[in-house]
């Protein structure tokens, strides 16, 4: 008969989601349970010009031509045997639709059952319809995906299960006649003529039923799309929350996103951005130093590069000075730096004597004069640091006394005094930065130009590694989502930290 025709066309129609008028609806099995009528092949409902419009309305990336060929080649014999029913229900459509457990399995059985009530042609038609609807169900979840992806992978995936399903049916179902085989090869146009007579039967009811099926199908699609959207949004939200939590706990601020995490003042946010830009500049300067040293530039050229690096540091001290006015705590707590840097923080920045100590071990053989100069520099910076630290301690003690208040806490009065004392913090950070700046300026006075260039390169690289250390530390693998037995977590952490330690060997 014309089962294959229905199948082919049904499949083609399934691909055209936008194809509302044409009878995909006729092949859906989602009709209301009250529908007990026999299926009328959709083509019957919609007239003669359906096949042509099928082809033109092929909107999906799914290659139905291929499928059609596969079906024809496999010689699917469609029958209206009720024994088919379990088969129809076993090969369930794609997983996405399975998430709606309320999908009534009995629909298909009803339809198959109702197919019996019609004539021979209807029977085969309805059988085909259920088959087609099966494949439609299979296709339905895929086609939005395949539409978007429009990759051959999707197509292959789509085709396979259907082909398997068809094969299954072909092998299990007994043949009703060879005429069915032959009809598969017939052009669609011919087959339609034979069934136009059925059009007159309950046209209105049929139309209504078709519309119901169409509406139900559309609503299913919408629901599916919405749920998919929700799922992906939920995953995204979880990931964002994790990132936020991690960033907060680590206190890692990147210039660009400052202000988005936690309560950060505008002054602090501004400084963070400026600092991020300064770090980029720092990389360029270091590159300049490195290439300048390797290229064996003349002393005067190298001197220019060294001077520009000093100016680069002058710039950050200037920016810090401005930031100190607007948000001293941001600076002094080191929230603008990375965790590892913060560990060594002194008065809102690096400790100059520590830096000199680091450099001494790496500078090439120095003259006696240079050795004296460097050690003098280290010594005087230590004295200055000590003085500032003690002054800062006195400020802290004075603040404690004010806030504690003694026997009577005067409220507003004491708050005002405390505020005044807090304001002195800015002065200490400024002096500390001044000390850092002076130390850096002094280095090229003691060293040769070449030594100074190497020295500044070492400083730049040192802090870059410290920052990198922070990054590695933060991104080290840890147990996050699944919280097992705590002891297991610790073990895993240790095991996982081992490989990351190899990073340090490069330094």
């Amino acid at each position: 008969m014309n089962q294959c025709f229905w199948l082919e066309n049904g499949l083609k129609n399934k691909s055209c989601m936008a194809n509302h008028r044409v009878g995909e609806t006729g092949l859906t099995d989602s009709g209301p349970s009250s529908h007990h009528h026999h299926h009328i092949p959709y083509a019957v409902l919609h007239g003669m010009n359906v096949p042509a419009s099928f082809i033109h309305q092929e909107g999906s990336a799914f290659d139905f031509g291929e499928l059609e060929e596969a079906i024809v080649l496999q010689g699917v014999k469609i029958r209206n045997d009720e024994a088919q029913a379990p088969l129809f229900t076993t090969g369930r459509p794609a997983a996405t639709l399975e998430m709606f457990p309320s999908w009534p399995m009995r629909f298909q059985q009803i339809e198959i059952g109702s197919s019996k009530s019609g004539g021979e042609s209807t029977d085969s038609g309805s059988a085909v319809n259920t088959l087609s609807s099966k494949t439609e169900n299979q296709l339905e979840p895929e086609s939005p995906v395949s539409k978007k992806a429009s990759s051959s992978d999707h197509q292959a995936f789509d085709q396979k299960p259907m082909q398997q399903q068809l094969l299954e049916m072909a092998s299990d179902i007994s043949r009703t006649g060879t005429s069915q085989n032959q009809s598969a090869a017939k052009p669609p146009q011919e087959k339609r003529r034979g069934s136009t007579s059925e059009k007159q039967l309950d046209a209105k009811t049929l139309r209504r039923l078709a519309q119901n099926r169409e509406a139900a199908r559309k609503s299913r699609l919408r629901k599916k799309a919405y749920v998919q959207q929700l799922e992906s949004s939920r995953i995204k939200l979880t990931q964002l929350e994790q990132d936020l939590q991690r960033a907060r706990s680590e206190g890692l601020f990147l210039g660009g996103c400052a202000g988005a995490v936690g309560n950060i003042s505008s002054g602090a946010a501004t400084f963070d951005m400026e600092y991020a830009r300064w770090l980029e500049d720092d990389q360029r300067h270091m590159l300049e130093l490195r290439t300048g040293l390797q290229a064996q530039l003349s002393d005067s050229d190298l001197r220019t590069i060294v001077d520009s690096y000093i100016s680069h540091y002058d710039e950050i001290f200037r920016l810090k000075g401005m930031a100190a006015k607007s948000d001293i705590f941001h600076l002094i707590t080191g929230m603008w730096t990375t965790p590892a840097e913060r560990c060594f923080l002194w008065m809102g920045g690096f400790r100059p004597s520590e830096l000199i100590k680091m450099l001494i071990s790496q500078l090439e053989p120095l003259t006696e004069q240079q050795v004296i100069g460097i050690y003098r520099l280290q010594h005087s910076s230590q004295q200055a640091e000590e003085a500032l630290t003690q002054g800062h301690e006195q400020l802290q003690q004075s603040l404690i006394d004010t806030i504690a208040g003694g026997p009577v806490f005067d409220g507003m009065q004491q708050m005002a005094v405390a505020l005044g004392k807090l304001a002195n913090l800015e002065g200490f950070v400024r002096q500390a930065d001044n000390l850092r700046q002076q130390t850096l300026h002094q280095l090229p006075r003691i060293l040769t130009t070449r030594q100074a260039a190497r020295c500044f390169l070492m400083i730049g690289e040192y802090y870059a590694r410290l920052r990198a250390l922070s990054s590695v530390w933060i991104s080290r693998p840890r147990e996050t989502l699944i919280s097992d037995d705590h002891s297991c977590q610790t073990t895993t952490d240790l095991q996982m930290v081992q490989p990351s330690q190899n990073h340090f060997s490069n330094f």
Binding site: S381, G427, N434, Q438
Partner: protein
Amino acid sequence: MHCQTGSWGSYMPTSRNTVGDPLERIERLASENAVVIFSISSCCMCHAIKRLFCGMGVNPTVYELDEDPRGKDMEKALMRLLGTSPAVPVVFIGGKLVGAMDRVMASHINGTLVPLLKEAGALWL
């Protein structure tokens, strides 16, 4: 607070001269000792600068302006002299103005402070 030697340099009793240019007084006081610091007792930066000199083994002469009847005027004069506020701490070495904390630290780092102290007789090798 004490230096290693015990007390702050020497606290000079302020003269009873109530009439006179505060700046003149400052200059006079500054020239009377090798290292002179004008300070305010509650100021923490002043404490820091005192610790710095003490740490170097210098005994500075400290004038606490909040304990001086003419302290307010002197403070204003110092502010004019320095061009910035706060007026204190301010350091004179060998009668000559060195400056506030930032200048003192800069001169210590660049190695000019110690020779200056030695020259003024405040520091011996």
